[in-house]
């Protein structure tokens, strides 16, 4: 069965989504963006971003905001307003309908919209790798029958069977799964690039009813950008006496900078606008545009625009004959609703936190895809797959928890990893199966433990023990440990590894968050100990293997450092820095010996003093800071050295 895509056919931008594996996914365009600008050049057959780029060059032939004409007669007030605004010609077509006149040929709004839908279709086909022939398309709640019919025709011209036309606010509610709740009243606040809509819906048993809609068809995010541009130009004029708006090139740069600043101020409270060499002063010297814009200033600049949206909101509630407190859920739609001030205002007015977790540019298309999924029978067909609520792992050297299966992994799943022994001739390993999010083993829940013995004697790190975790679809965890040399294996089965109550999971996650800082310190401590331990063993090995190639005094120095590390590690109360310092000292001494051994190999002379000291000095020069810190420990070691 083929997929049914969901299309948000917008005034400024359009967006396409599809259900995949039970989840809605926005389909990127061929240009790699999630939105398609609703712009069409019908003569050269350009659609979307590409059509938008040639808009200025080709204003008579470039159609945009076609949605404003959809299913409207030429004498419609909306058409009159659009005629004043757009750069292409709008004339009377068949049956008094408004059509676009491009290159002497009439194009109905359906035909133009069909070009956008065609692009949506072909982008979806390229993405899915299969034919797409069905779609759910959204329209504003206030669209009448003629407008809905026209939208449906557009789909058909594009070669799409329109399975359903749904309201944009309904789609947005679907994206948040509000249809699953019973008898709710929802307000949808939709502030897009060029239009503002507000709707009140009533949901009961999965049926949506639009109680009232209102809005301002000429208010949107673009007006916000314009306010910022005006402000920047004004400030610059005040300071430098030059009007940047008269300089086309400079204006273009301000326009881009203004939009960027607006977006940044949704997450930051302050942003810097830096445009070096924006223009030249009267004396011919370059002038730079550099200014700070705070969120508070931005809010002041656009306050009037924000307040303008509240009037339709109040009207809408009045028409629906309800008050703000009767609204159960509020949904935000449109990129401009990312602005914190708008979110705060909406929250204040309705007295509740609005739904805003779904990308507001994509939420309508996502809802349309959800509807498409329901129609295709896909949504009810989802095989519910379990996930492991917490991380599963084993305890390793130093009491550290090593994760094998990360939390939120979909089951069934399996994972294996090779481990080794921590000491020489170790004949057995204990596998401690852990569940939880804390980095130290003791802080996690131990699900079970077992011992794998009979490992043939070998130096530490040589044996290969394969530990495998496997969770089946019933949540049963099998853990096995196998010695690769002997193929000897031990295993344990743990039932209900994924079945924890929600409270248990929450509790464990909270614990992990609460202790994050101290856990990090503990883990770092364990890591430092493990590293120092490993270094010590490698130093001992170097001395042993180096034999008489290592000079006696060097050997003594290293042995002294090893002893120091050992002493520090044996203490219970010790600082991480102390361990690291001792390990560093040892490592430095070891490097000197290494360098000396290489020098001895290269030169005919038996281990000359000169090259050794040069190497040592270079080394100590590079790590000067560490050496200063380690001054006390080093002074003794340096006594024997020749200092230039």
């Amino acid at each position: 069965m083929s997929k049914i895509i969901g299309i948000d056919l917008g005034t400024t931008n359009s967006c396409v989504a599809v259900m995949e594996g039970g989840k809605p996914k926005v389909i990127p365009t061929a240009e790699g963006e999630n939105l398609i600008p609703s712009v069409v050049e019908p003569v050269k057959k350009l659609v979307g971003r590409v059509a938008k780029r040639q808009q200025i060059l080709n204003p008579d032939n470039t159609v945009y905001s076609i949605k404003r004409l959809m299913g409207r007669k030429i004498d419609d007030p909306m058409v009159k307003k659009a005629q004043e605004m757009v750069s292409y010609e709008i004339v009377k077509g068949k049956e008094e309908m408004a059509v676009a006149l491009i290159g002497g040929k009439e194009y109905t709004p359906q035909e133009i919209s069909a070009r956008i839908l065609q692009k949506a279709k072909s982008d979806a086909e390229a993405y899915l790798g299969e034919k797409v022939e069905q779609a759910v398309i959204t329209v504003p709640a206030y669209f009448d029958d003629a407008q809905r019919q026209a939208t449906k025709q557009a789909g058909e011209i594009a070669g799409l069977k329109v399975e359903r036309i749904i309201n944009e606010p309904t789609a947005a509610s679907l994206a948040y799964g509000l249809d699953k709740k019973k008898n709710e009243t929802v307000a949808v606040y939709d502030l897009g690039g060029g239009t503002f809509d507000v709707s009140v819906l009533e949901i009961g048993d999965g049926v949506f009813e639009v109680k009232a809609t209102n809005g301002d068809t000429f208010l949107g995010g673009d007006d916000f950008d314009q306010e910022i541009i005006n402000f920047i130009a004004q400030e610059f004029k005040k300071e430098q006496g030059i009007d940047l708006k008269k300089d086309k090139q400079a204006l273009q740069r301000i326009r881009d900078a203004a939009e960027k600043a607006k977006i940044e101020l949704s997450s930051a409270t302050e942003t810097e606008i830096n445009q070096p060499f924006i223009t030249q002063g009267k004396d011919g010297n370059p002038l730079h545009l550099t200014m700070k814009l705070t969120r508070a200033k931005l809010e002041e600049l656009v306050d009037e625009l924000i307040q303008q949206t509240m009037k339709p909101v109040k009207e809408c509630l009045k028409d629906a004959k309800i008050g703000p407190s009767d609204i159960d859920e509020v949904v935000l739609v449109g990129g401009q609703t990312r602005m914190p001030k708008i979110q705060a205002l909406v929250k204040e007015y309705f007295g509740k936190e609005p739904n805003k977790s779904v990308n507001p540019d994509e939420v309508v298309a996502i809802g349309a895809a959800v509807q498409g999924g329901v129609l295709a029978g896909e949504v009810s067909d989802i095989l519910l797959l379990d996930v492991t609520p917490l991380t599963l792992g084993v305890e390793t050297l130093g009491g550290v928890r090593t994760p094998l299966i990360e939390r939120n992994s979909t089951v069934p799943t399996s994972k294996s990893q090779i481990f080794s022994t921590a000491s020489d001739s170790q004949s057995q390993v204990e596998i401690n199966v852990l569940q939880g999010e804390r980095p130290m083993a003791v802080d996690n829940k131990s699900l079970g433990r077992f011992i794998l013995d009979g490992i043939p004697p070998a130096p530490r790190g040589i044996p290969q023990i394969e530990v495998a975790f496997d969770i089946d679809s019933n949540g049963i965890l099998n853990v096995s440990a196998k010695d690769k040399a002997t193929n000897k294996e031990q295993k344990i089965t743990i039932k209900n590894a994924t079945h924890l109550t929600e409270e248990e999971v929450e509790q464990m996650k909270k614990e992990a968050e609460k202790h994050a800082e101290e856990d990090k310190t503990k883990k770092e401590m364990a890591d430092a100990r493990n590293q120092a331990d490993a270094l010590m063993i490698s130093a001992e090995k170097t001395l042993k293997e180096g034999g008489d190639k290592v000079k006696k005094e060097d050997k003594e120095k290293i042995e002294a450092e090893i002893k120091k590390v050992k002493e520090i590690l044996s203490k219970d109360e010790v600082k991480k820095e102390e361990i690291e310092k001792a390990a560093n000292n040892l490592s430095e001494e070891l490097q000197k010996v290494g360098a000396a051994m290489y020098a001895a190999q290269q030169s005919d002379q038996p281990a000359g003093d000169q090259p050794q000291n040069t190497a040592a000095d270079k080394n100590s020069g590079e790590t000067a800071t560490e050496k200063e810190k380690a001054g006390e420990d080093k002074s003794k070691a340096e006594e024997g050295e020749v200092v230039e």
């Binding site: 594996g21 780029r53 040639q54 060059l57 080709n58 790798g129 070096p276 060499f277």
Partner: protein, 148 residues
């Protein structure tokens, strides 16, 4: 007996449903795998494009500084910057004197000059392996206006 037949029929239906679901899951997975394979390069390109776009904005400023300050050291640094971008596969969009191409160019204004030719590049555009990092912003000739 009748209930057994009913059970049997029910189970047969269930088996068919499960088989269908399994097939769908396997197909979804298979398609996903193919797509991931096919799009891996495209995705890594997209990720690169995102970061290159930010670097290029800095290059713009450096080039403006270079133009005004005429400092040799600065020029060397700028050309090194350009060389690094080139080695990563970044190419500049040829704009001046070319026929306007909306695939790689963004028209920001009209000026006197031959129709449809790029007269005045306002901001350089860049490509990464044929994909647009950002289009060249250009002013295009409007051609001689005929007086009717």
């Amino acid at each position: 007996m009748a209930s057994r037949i009913k059970d049997f029929k029910k189970n047969r239906q269930k088996l068919a449903d499960l088989e269908e679901k399994l097939k769908r899951a396997l197909a979804d997975y298979d398609n996903l795998e193919k797509r991931i394979l096919g799009q891996r390069e495209a995705l890594s390109n997209l990720a690169k494009i995102e970061i290159l776009d930010k670097f290029i904005a800095v290059l713009d400023d450096l080039e403006r500084a270079e133009k005004h300050l005429r400092n040799k050291g600065l020029s060397m640094a700028v050309s090194q910057f350009r060389a690094v971008l080139t080695s990563e596969g970044v190419r500049e969009v040829k704009a001046k004197g070319e026929i306007f191409d909306p695939e790689t160019m963004d028209c920001v204004g009209m000026v006197e000059g031959e129709k449809n030719l790029v007269i005045n590049p306002v901001q350089k555009g860049y490509l990464l392996n044929g994909r647009v990092i950002r289009p060249a912003k250009v002013e295009v000739g409007q051609g001689k206006k005929m007086i009717s």
